[in-house]
Amino acid sequence: MFTYYLDLALRSLKRNKALTALMVLALALGIGASMTTLTVLHVLSGDPLPGKSHQLFYPQLDPQDMDGYKPQDEPPEQVSWIDGMALLQARRAHFQALMTGGAVPIQPAQSSIDPFFEDARYTTADFFPMFDVPFLYGQGWNATDDEASAHVAVLTRELNEKLFGGKDSTGQTLRMNDVAFRIVGVLDSWRPTPHFYDLNTGSYSADEGVFVPLATATDLKFARNGSTDCWDKGSSENMKTATCTWLQFWVQLDTPAEATAYREFLLNYSREQKALGHFQRPPNVRLRDVMGWLDYNKVVPSDVHLQVWLAFGFLLVCLVNTVGLMLAKFLRRSGELGVRRALGASRRSLFAQLLVEAGAVGLVGGAGGLLLALLGLWLVRGQPSDYAALAHLDLPMLLATFVAAVMASLLAGLLPAWRACLTPPALQLKSN
């Protein structure tokens, strides 16, 4: 029966090509625009570390003085050196890492490559196991290297490609800022999106190419990138004693019980610091997991949300348009439907036949929408925003496009099909 309906639908669609083309075009435009914006939203609000993100937490403390204090204020978004080191050395979590972003001049041994600046991450050793960073060669450094301020470095696959032609470079020497570093590891391709562990250096920008122990970087006074928030006198003379927050601190807590215990630990730490006179404000701590932290920072640009809203408004206009056109199309065939009714077809089977026709329009419209979405994403990728390069259609979005298109056209077909089925057969036959 379905193939018969499909045949009828195709004949009917062929009979009035202009109207069919109009319906398909309207649907394709609406679906294309919605899918383009939805894909961008989907990419930007994705989980950077699926399966692990709910075990990773970002502790926040409030070490500021009483200036401008309001009880409901959020604590600073980073930690100071003193607090960061204290939390790191407390070792209360499964893994913990203290880090900041920076940039280092790289002076390649090969004369063919000019010295250049590379974004870097200065971090403690747990960064690699905590974030499940994949290694192509070698491995990360360990806590002993951190304590010894060892001159060791980990490269990303891309930088290793550039400097060593992709060969295993572990054990080789790399000169950065006129200091020789031993390469201990090379990462495999790894680009968590968004760049959740440090949102100061651009939420979606390309990641750093080289990793260096935090202590080494601070000893050698490597240049920092990121934000610094100060209170009291601030002062950047010595960042280790400055009343400024400038480091990110992440912990891995495997179970909810551990997370509760850690929050308690943060509160106790704040109370203790207040008692010692280091903190002045009442304890004010936060312990957000990765998705909570991204939400709190509103990493997805509000323009992207706005575009989704508008695209759906546009889809709605297109849908209403398709409903109107389908109504015209179905009512125009009242005569044919009347004959089928007179020959014994039930209302239900007429309804099914018309819905098959609507579904066929949806399928073609979906294909058109997919092409338009690919075109739209290609246009988005040509834009200068730093997330532009990420806008690619993935399999779930591809399927979603077709499901959405067919659902939309079925929905658009419901009302006209019902209206067309209501026509009494005798009246239709008579009027012709």
Binding site: G68, F117, S302, H305, W309, G313, F314, N321, L415
Partner: protein, 404 residues
């Protein structure tokens, strides 16, 4: 033109009429708000900077040890000043539409209880305010002994020039000259008022906050290096910049020139608003596609109606209606349906605006958008219905006598 028979006919096509009206209403809501957002973005792009943008450029150096700052600074300044065409080079921490290094919260009392907002401190050496081209409209420009030596981020006190917008925000209606404010325990006194001086990153702030800037005079020193404001003849700017960057690269080969930030201020301004341009372009695309779909939908439904009513049209023609009457009939019908849609659309436009205001910091939709959108949709409807209406007018009276 009699409206009564048209309404009577429409009553027999309630569903189709309602659908067109609904489509027009949705289009009206999206059209008003999209146009409003475009207007907002365009006006943001045309923000007054208060600086002689065309004559200014930024040169940013990084990657040198702070111990060598003074030496690097001296060599870079000498090299930049020697470039032919350069009128002046001044050390300054932030650049309009460029580097941002002086963002800080302030309060209007020493205890920090009256928060004054987060503002931008332009910390500049002698001559930098003149180089910027910011106009002092009240009080005085910095005097030679206003420029104080400092350590850390900025001088911990001094006499400053603030913008009119910030003065009005901090002390509404009062004379700002002689007033004081505090930031990070440091105390500043207002001695001059600037007409305008935009903050380096205007896009992240509300329209009111975009001009909250302060000029803080400072002695060049180890803490004010690596960031230079270069002034040159606007027509000569591309060549001057090319030569200037080449000269710096030669004079201080050990530093890294931040090429992305070292551009003319006009180019920096262009980059700052790139996202707004993208958004506006996308909205224009959506509006165009939506109007096209709406128009084609009207064409489709009107054609259907014309075909359905061929016999009635023939009868009307046979009993004396002119072609013009038939044409006017369909035009009036469309005018009424679109009018109904617009009435509903205005309500929807305001509802959508309320949602956007709540979530996206959009101001209230000005009322004059509504008649403009209504006019646009009426014109669109008339254009769309013209083809089918002409075809209806062309139906010969003889159709009345035929059975099919």
């Amino acid at each position: 033109m009699q409206i009564q028979p048209i309404l009577a006919a429409l009553r027999r096509h309630r569903l189709a009429t309602a659908l067109i009206a609904l489509e027009i209403a949705l289009a009206c809501a999206v059209l008003c708000n999209a146009c409003f957002i475009i207007a907002q973005r365009v006006s943001a792009m045309h923000i007054v900077s208060g600086a002689d943008e065309a004559a200014l450029a930024s040169v940013q150096l990084t990657g040198y040890d702070s111990a060598q700052a003074a030496d690097v600074d001296a060599r870079a300044l000498a090299a930049l000043r020697a470039v032919p065409g350069v009128e002046s080079v001044s050390p300054i921490n932030s650049i309009p539409f460029g580097s941002r290094r002086g963002t800080a919260g302030i309060s209007t009392d020493a205890a920090g209880e009256h928060f004054g907002g987060v503002i931008e401190f332009y910390v500049g050496g002698p001559g930098s305010l003149e180089a910027l081209g910011a106009k002092v409209v009240a009080g005085r420009a910095p005097q030679p002994d206003d420029f104080r030596a400092f350590t850390g981020f900025m001088p911990d006190g001094g006499s400053v020039q603030i913008t009119r917008a910030l003065a009005e925000h901090l002390w509404p209606g009062a004379d700002p000259l002689g007033k004081e404010f505090w930031s990070l325990k440091s105390h500043y006194r207002v001695v001059g008022v600037l007409k305008d001086l935009v903050r380096p990153d205007p896009t992240g702030w509300t329209p009111e906050q975009r001009q909250w800037s302060v000029f803080l005079p400072a002695q060049p020193g180890p803490y004010l290096t690596g960031s230079y404001l270069l002034r040159a003849n606007p027509g000569d700017m591309p060549r001057v910049m090319r030569d200037a960057l080449a000269a710096v690269a030669k004079a201080v080969p050990e530093v890294v020139i931040d090429r992305e930030a070292s551009q003319s201020v006009s180019d920096l301004r262009h980059d700052v608003f790139k996202n707004d341009r993208v958004m506006a372009a996308m909205l224009v695309g959506v509006i165009f596609a939506m109007l096209m779909v709406t128009a084609l939908g009207i064409v489709g439904l009107a054609s259907f109606w014309v075909q359905q009513r061929r016999r009635q049209i023939g009868i009307r023609r046979a009993i004396g209606a002119t072609r013009r009457d038939i044409l006017h009939y369909f035009q009036t019908e469309n005018f009424l349906i679109v009018g109904g849609g617009i009435a509903l659309g205005m309500v929807l436009a305001f509802a959508l605006n309320l949602v956007l205001m709540k979530h996206y910091e959009l101001p209230r939709l000005p009322l004059y958008y509504l008649p403009v959108a209504a006019l646009a949709l009426w014109v669109l409807g008339q254009l769309a219905v013209l083809g089918p209406a002409l075809r209806a007018a062309a139906v010969p009276p003889v159709v009345a006598t035929r059975s099919v």
